[in-house]
Subunit: 149 residues, 2 copies
């Protein structure tokens, strides 16, 4: 990270630290995912045996710098939306326990240049609807139902 | 709203209902604001005497269909960011009490076509950091410091 903050206060470091607590599962639902650091962290978790699942937006996944191809090459399960509108969520759930959500897409542009928010909570009242949404769209975008491009 | 859900379940109606509970203040921090229905609701609150403040993104505020011009014409205070990165927040705080945040920009495209999330909470632990952020950038983007374009 190149931000001027002390390492412990750097938002990217804090996000990485939360993600790297995953022991069993990491469910990611992101409109845009192009940050190399976050891509590396997700692949690391996959190699450690964490069950990683990624849902992303079909229009955005092919843009230059997208991490989606690298994640798929690493053997991580990725599914994409099937609608003309955007799959605009920006959240992740760690071990079915911790919700990370907000305005932040996982892109270098957003991390370095934008004004963004990320809300992290383990309150079941907030985590559960996001988990439910993840399972709903994970099934809805099952590639049995379409051809991955 | 044109969604197929019963009126009480329609996400736009629910969002409007939350906003229209405002009695004293409405602080809005939005990357993109082009929904006519939400624009009308905000102007209605302003006419009722609610103190409405809006922070938005400088690059996006001028696009076709933006509500920002109508809000300013109605006498609502609007400020915009001064950075090259995006002011990418999508949140509102009602009466300093209720936080409405998520992936949703207040655009017709997002409301009708996208897959989005909106988290509504009155839990001070979550509301306070957003209120603090609002006050911080409201002051940072004080137009004494720049020319409104």
């Amino acid at each position: 990270c190149h931000c001027p903050l002390p390492h412990g206060d750097c938002p990217l470091s804090r996000l990485l630290r939360h993600l790297l607590t995953a022991r069993r599962s990491l469910d990611i639902c992101l409109f845009a995912f192009s940050s190399p650091q976050l891509g590396r962290a997700v692949r690391l978790l996959h190699r450690r045996g964490v069950r990683v699942r990624v849902v992303t937006d079909a229009q955005y996944m092919g843009v230059q710098g997208s991490q989606i191809g690298l994640l798929r090459q690493a053997g991580i399960q990725v599914r994409h939306d099937q609608e003309s509108g955007y799959m605009h969520h920006k959240f992740a759930v760690v071990d079915g326990r911790m919700l990370i959500t907000g305005s932040l897409n996982w892109t270098t542009q957003a991390i370095q240049n934008n004004r963004e928010n990320v809300l992290v909570t383990e309150d079941v009242e907030y985590v559960k609807p996001f988990l439910d949404e993840f399972e709903r769209i994970w099934e809805k975008y099952n590639p049995i139902k379409y051809k991955f491009f």
